[in-house]
């Protein structure tokens, strides 16, 4: 079986099927559906068991963050932003904090830089661990999630120890971080990394050398490299298509320039390749975390003193701060009018394009049973689309 033959590039134009003809069936996948990530829905038009057309419907999780943030003080938004993306809140915290610091002209202490990097890498690992369970599950493979979610839980235990929160850490606060690492924390980190790595080895064997997974994932959802710019695809989805873009390298924020890592690039750009690339990035995370533990300064302040948060005004200006999250470019656009509240905060989540424009296009021609697997292979997360 030649794999290349499986790569079907769906048509650019939307189909306009005649639903009255009886040839097609309109079906909804979601919001309450086991084959959907998060609370969103796909409106599928199917012919037999293959999808003719797909429309994404979002908004089930719309809370109006961007409006609410305009009502709150700069510091009051800090607990709010992490809720935008539940599996990886820290990217929100970082982008928001960094944007504020840039606008207010605040330099954060070196220790905070390292601890921020640590928490971003830890949550990257945790988020990938949750994703990989979902990816396997979407192809009917229930074992992986039993392992990987537990591994994720171990990472969350670390977060709990560090920040006092399991899901919402609220650790990266404008000005630095909220506390130094507790005694013995780095030791725990290294222990957990060993456990996770061992488990990843198992997952590698069981999932990536599983004939069922291979057959279902290979060739599914092929993204040509020239779509990357056209669709604004970022992160592993772009890297799996052979486009070497990693904001950690490109922007060189936080402590990344001081860490030793290479951008992992794929080639085949199908669901299997993307999954494999993410697995490699998980190994990379573990490696980075070990480097951070090794290099993080032991002493020094962890937060810059800021003005009274009740009246903190940020000089008028605007900025866009992006970071490489698990799924790609995560960014906060923050505009200040010089008052004590933001004028506008806009959140750029990678799922915005991956789950809508890209998904709609890729779903065409796919077997219904593979829609869930395809969606998970794009690693989307609805709340960052609708905020």
């Amino acid at each position: 079986m030649k794999k290349e033959k499986l790569r079907v590039i769906p048509p650019a134009e939307r189909a306009n099927p005649d639903l009255e003809s009886g040839k097609y069936l309109l079906m909804w996948q979601g919001p309450q559906h086991p084959g959907i990530t998060g609370n969103m829905s796909l409106k599928l038009i199917v012919e037999g068991d293959s999808v003719v057309d797909c429309e994404t419907h979002v908004g089930y999780l719309h809370r109006g963050f961007e409006k609410l943030m305009e009502r709150r003080l700069w510091m009051q938004n800090f607990p709010l932003v992490c809720r935008i993306a539940v599996p990886e809140p820290d990217f929100n915290e970082y982008c928001y904090a960094a944007a504020l610091e840039e606008l207010a002209g605040i330099q954060i202490p070196d220790k905070a830089v390292w601890l921020r990097t640590l928490s971003l890498e830890m949550i990257r690992l945790a988020s990938f661990l949750m994703w990989i369970g979902g990816q396997a599950g979407a192809f009917g493979h229930g074992t992986i999630i039993q392992w990987s979610v537990t591994m994720r839980d171990y990472v969350l235990d670390l977060f709990e120890e560090l920040s006092g929160g399991r899901i919402y850490h609220m650790y990266i606060i404008p000005g630095g971080v909220r506390g130094d690492v507790p005694a013995g924390f780095f030791k725990h980190v290294l222990e957990i990394m060993d456990t996770v790595q061992k488990n990843l080895d198992d997952i590698e064997l069981v999932m990536f050398h599983n004939v069922v997974f291979k057959m279902r994932a290979e060739g599914l959802g092929y993204i040509p490299a020239d779509w990357v710019d056209h669709y604004g695809i970022t992160g592993p989805n772009a890297r799996a298509a052979g486009v070497a873009r990693d904001l950690r390298k490109d922007l060189g924020y936080l402590a990344y320039p001081r860490l030793d890592f290479k951008t992992i690039v794929g080639q085949k750009s199908d669901a299997y390749e993307r999954a494999r690339l993410r697995l490699l990035e998980m190994y990379q995370c573990i490696d980075l975390i070990r480097q951070i533990v090794d290099q993080c300064p032991k002493d020094g302040p962890f937060r810059e003193k800021l003005p009274n948060p009740l009246y903190w005004k940020i000089p008028a200006g605007e900025t866009y701060v992006a970071a490489e999250c698990t799924r790609g470019e995560y960014g906060f656009y923050v505009a200040s009018d010089g008052s004590d509240k933001p004028r506008r905060v806009a959140v750029r989540g990678p799922s915005y394009t991956h789950a809508v424009a890209v998904m709609e296009r890729l779903a065409r021609g796919v077997n219904i049973a593979d829609v869930a697997g395809l969606m998970v292979s794009l690693h989307t997360y609805p709340p960052e689309i609708e905020r």
Binding site: D157, E160, L162, Y168, L205, Y311
Partner: protein
């Protein structure tokens, strides 16, 4: 696809005998981490009910509620935060910002109920299983959202200070003032403690926002002596400041001074309210101290024609004659008084009531009279020998210094007393090159003087001799007779004689000490001079002072022929500080207006 893809998955069978991941009894076995952000706990004793937690809470999860058995008192609103767990997001910003550090979080996270209305409680007041939890979120060492340190005030060094009467405190620059104002959380706990109930959060906000005209207007709403109070106020407000519960209180006094210093006198009129049109009534004020002039200011604003009678050559009362120049320079005081005069208030300087004019004259010529004559009479030591020519009285020494007279205190000076007059006298003597001992009957912590004053007097070189009961003043022997005196005191120990009362100094038998001084300045207390009030004025008196009602009126049964008499300030109240006198003056002005206009009688 190769054979490995079929076989590899079986490899993990090797894990079958490893320890499973499963937690046996999750609910029992997994307490929250030591830093876990669980339910709130609050030390209700340390909490002062400032509501800063409520202000920072973006979820509006916190209400401040009255608590049974907890009354409002100075520096404590008596309210306590109540948390709605239908709102809380466990971000702990409330913990991070809490000025007193009383609010924390336990590591408890289990709370399940069928009734959605139960998820509210007042931590530290309503009993909860997690009260007193050892573990849970506390703000990290070295991490606070509020700045616990006051912006340092530039002051003359102590060595420099004693060489001259230059003002010690330099005042804040704009950047410093705005930074200091930024420390305030606008809780308003201070307002109740200020005798004048000034809108302190309001004018601090004005400083923060650089709107000094508004700041000045807010100051003058309750206090027409911002320059003076900005320097010498007893700042009870700072004692009540919620920020002071976990650090330095906000420098409220210096911020007040900053506002007044920054606005030129010529620009005052633009910022401040104009006087009402004349109501055609006249009021006399006796005594041009802070209280009398305050009454005059507010009366003038209300449209009264006000004349102030002052026995001394200059207006200002104790602010001028009692407080040395290095604490309150005369130009600053002149600015306050100058603005009051600019509203049309006439100050008759050098006119003593009781001598040049009688009180009944005033009652005849004015619709109302306000007595604000303060406490000009210094009390004596009342020990044998206290009439020795080298025993001086503190008030007189300070007044002479103000007048620029030669003091001739000599090289060795004793100051008897622990109040602000004693400190001022001691520091004045230091500036005249004397070596100064301050003798006080009790301990340093019992001294009624401001802590700052005591600290500075000591820093400038005064020696503090605590627990010393005056026994006798003896004339010096030989050539020094009449020119120096021996001060004899008895060393004392503090004895707690009665439960709940302050300890009493008791002389240690035989522990007599004596020391030769060129001058002995008695500053043990002062009393009023009421020789100008006669029985005909109808002023009821008790314990050597006029009795006033809640309105400040001292002549409830005043005959219809004469104007009513009101009294206030040190003469009447027990606080005996400038800000209380100012508050009395303001209150009396309003009462006089109500009395004369017939409003709200």
């Amino acid at each position: 696809m190769d054979i490995k893809d079929f076989i590899a998955p079986f490899a993990v069978w090797k894990r079958a005998f490893e320890k499973p991941f499963t937690v046996k009894k999750p609910i029992d076995e997994r307490p929250g981490a030591p830093r876990y952000r669980g339910f709130h706990i609050n030390d209700a004793e340390r909490c002062v009910g400032c509501g800063t937690c409520e202000a920072i809470c973006m979820n509006k999860a916190i209400d401040l509620v009255p608590v049974e058995g907890r009354e409002a008192k100075e520096g404590d609103s008596g309210l306590r935060p109540r948390v709605d767990y239908g709102r809380c997001c466990w971000c702990a910003l409330c913990v991070d910002i809490c000025p007193s550090g009383s609010l924390n979080m336990s590591n408890e996270y289990l709370w399940i109920d069928s009734d959605p209305d139960v998820f509210r409680y007042t931590p530290g007041v309503d009993k909860k299983p997690w009260d007193g939890a050892e573990l849970g979120y506390r703000r990290a060492e070295g991490y606070r959202l509020l700045d616990e340190q006051r912006v340092p005030m530039a002051e003359l060094g102590h060595r420099e200070a004693v060489k001259s009467f230059l003002e010690l405190v330099q005042g804040y620059s704009r950047a410093q003032a705005e930074k200091e104002a930024d420390r305030c959380v606008s809780c308003g706990l201070c307002i109740a403690s200020c005798p004048a109930h000034m809108d302190i959060p309001g004018y601090i906000k004005a400083v923060r926002e650089g709107d000094l005209d508004t700041g000045l207007r807010l100051l003058y709403e309750t206090n027409p002596f911002p320059e003076a109070c900005g320097r010498i106020c007893t700042h009870l407000c700072e004692g009540a400041c919620s920020i002071g519960t976990g650090g330095d209180p906000v420098a409220i006094r210096w911020l007040k001074r900053y506002i007044a210093d920054q606005v030129e006198l010529s620009a005052y009129a633009k910022a401040l309210p104009r006087a009402e049109p004349s109501v055609g009534k006249k009021v006399a004020v006796v005594g041009a101290g802070p209280g009398g002039l305050s009454a005059a200011y507010y009366l003038a604003l209300l449209g009264y024609e006000v004349k102030v009678y002052e026995k001394d050559g200059e207006a200002g009362g104790m602010l001028r004659y009692g407080i040395p120049e290095y604490r309150l320079p005369y130009p600053a005081l002149d600015k306050d008084i100058g603005y009051i005069e600019s509203l049309g208030v006439t100050i008759k300087r050098g006119v003593a009531i009781g001598k040049d004019l009688s009180l009944s004259d005033l009652r005849r010529d004015y619709h109302a009279v306000y007595l604000s004559t303060g406490l000009p009479v210094a009390y004596g030591l009342e020990v044998p020998g206290d009439k020795h020519p080298r025993v001086l009285d503190g008030v007189a020494v300070l007044a002479a210094a103000t007048r620029g007279e030669e003091l001739g205190l000599g090289k060795r000076v004793a100051v008897i007393g622990g109040g602000n007059v004693a400190m001022d006298a001691a520091r004045t003597a230091l500036r005249h090159g004397a070596a100064v001992d301050i003798l006080y009957r009790r301990r340093e912590e019992d001294m009624p003087a401001d802590a700052d004053e005591i600290r500075e007097a000591k820093a400038e070189g005064a020696r503090l001799i605590e627990k010393s009961i005056p026994v006798e003043v003896k004339d010096a022997a030989g050539a020094l007779a009449g020119k120096a005196a021996l001060f004899v005191w008895n060393e004392a120990e503090m004895v707690q004689k009665e439960e709940g009362k302050r300890p009493v100094p008791e002389a240690i038998p035989g522990a007599l000490r004596e020391e030769l001084y060129d001058s002995i300045i008695a500053a043990i207390g002062q009393g009023p001079d009421l020789s100008y009030v006669t029985e005909e004025d109808g002023v009821p008196m008790k314990r050597f002072k006029p009795l006033v009602d809640a309105r400040g009126m001292a002549s409830p049964g005043a005959s219809p022929k004469g104007g009513a008499i009101f009294a206030g300030g040190d003469l009447v109240n027990d606080r005996k500080d400038a800000i209380s006198a100012i508050a009395d003056g303001h209150r009396a002005a309003l009462s006089i207006d109500r009395h004369l206009s017939g409003k709200g009688a």
